[in-house]
């Protein structure tokens, strides 16, 4: 009984390490075969339509509402200290530093990451990937690498759009609805938000999230058991793993970026 339990544990550990190693090798294989993604840029553009452009609606609408809620909640809190004018700082800093990259990444993982996994998984299940290999077409170069670079390129753009939309939402609620002074809203925001410390760090975060989400989504799809059940499980794992990865990476990056700031 005990022997079985220990054997089980050992087996799981070995499996886990094997999968990690496979994922790392997969990641480097994608990087090595990225040439096609740029030489035949049409492939990447096609994928950017499906992952980037079609994610726009959910990103823009969520950004607007997150910004509007920040405006309302921030006003309520700042009002007690008599500093409603700082609303611009609160909305802009929380969006640019944290909410923009993180929430956009979570939405991207569930909107586009799951779709990528399902697509690759089904391609594998219907043996399209094997067929490509038969025709001497490398599926990693032809199918996987363009999707990887699409995620890396789209993610910072989507995060920037999310932040911009959120700040517009905060402006709508704070200035137009509640009546915070427009001049001090923008002026205080501009004096508090720094290009390098805040905006550039947000962009770096979103690029890292893009790499993480694309890698996880593609790997789960590529590694999925070629059955209906396997693909559905892989899709679920993509959303769960990449969401957790985004949040964990966010903590690590924030600790590095903002620890010594004040």
């Amino acid at each position: 009984m005990l022997r079985r339990a220990i054997e089980n544990l050992g087996n799981r550990t070995v499996q886990g390490i094997w999968r990690m190693g496979f994922a790392a090798r997969f990641f480097f294989a994608v990087l090595l075969h990225s040439g096609t993604a740029f030489r035949r840029f049409g492939l990447t553009i096609r994928e950017m339509y499906f992952t980037g452009v079609l994610s726009l609606i959910i990103i823009l609408v969520s950004g607007l509402f997150v910004g509007m809620v920040l405006g309302l909640q921030g006003y309520e809190t700042l009002q007690t200290y008599g500093s409603e004018e700082a609303l611009g700082i609160l909305v802009a800093l929380s969006l640019v530093r944290e909410l923009g990259p993180v929430v956009a990444a979570l939405l991207f993982a569930s909107r586009a990451g799951s779709a990528i996994t399902a697509e690759i998984g089904l391609m594998k299940a219907t043996e399209q990937l094997s067929a490509m290999e038969m025709m001497a077409v490398d599926p990693i170069a032809r199918v996987v690498a363009p999707r990887f670079w699409t995620g890396v390129i789209s993610m910072p753009l989507l995060a920037a759009l999310f932040s911009a939309m959120g700040i517009f939402g905060g402006y709508l609620v704070g200035v137009q609805l509640i009546g915070v002074d427009e001049g001090s809203f923008w002026a205080q925001m501009q004096s508090a938000v720094d290009f390098e410390q805040d905006i550039l760090n947000g962009v770096i975060k979103s690029v890292v999230f893009g790499v993480a989400i694309s890698t996880i989504a593609l790997f789960e799809g590529y590694d999925a058991p070629p059955t209906a059940e396997g693909v559905s499980g892989a899709t679920t794992r993509t959303v769960v793993t990449s969401s957790l990865a985004v949040l964990a990476l966010d903590f690590v990056l924030t600790a590095f970026m903002f620890r010594g700031l004040n």
Partner: protein, 155 residues
């Protein structure tokens, strides 16, 4: 989907994303943080800097002329050495004085520069000789109480 419409949509997406980044950089953030090429640094020593922080503004006559870039403790003189980065087009006399002041109720602290009358200007790596420390509320209350006690004391 037609190839050209696809390209069009992706192009619009990229333009929108870059426009959002530009909006963040120009409208939301301050791109015009004093960069190293057209600025110079001076050091001011204070016995007490209060709650002054790195990146706090340096103002003269209420106008932002630079930022605090570094605060460190001088272990030989037991003072705080505050490095100020000022824009090159703001030249101050050598006997300019620096004070740590507070703006607003919430108490954001900044460095205020008051120009002196010297004809020699401050250069890079110069020191500001005349400084005034931050006002510490506890000391102020202590002085006030001491003064009150003196008043009431029998002659």
């Amino acid at each position: 989907m037609n190839r050209t419409t696809l390209d069009l949509w992706v192009g619009l997406f990229v333009i929108a994303g870059i426009a959002a980044l530009l909006f963040l950089a120009l409208k939301v953030g301050s791109m015009n943080t004093v960069n190293t090429s057209d600025s110079y640094e001076v050091v001011a020593r204070f016995e007490n800097i209060g709650g002054l922080k790195v990146r706090a503004p340096v103002k003269s006559a209420g106008v932002v002329v630079g930022r605090v870039v570094d605060i460190r403790f001088d272990n030989e003189r037991y003072e705080a050495a505050v490095t100020l980065r000022l824009g090159k087009h703001y030249a101050f006399p050598k006997d300019t004085s620096a004070a740590i002041l507070t703006s607003g109720l919430l108490g954001e602290q900044y460095v205020g520069l008051a120009a002196g009358g010297d004809s020699v200007k401050l250069k890079d790596k110069d020191q500001i000789q005349l400084t005034q420390d931050a006002v510490v509320l506890e000391n102020l209350i202590g002085q006030f109480l001491y003064g009150k006690a003196q008043e009431g004391a029998p002659q």
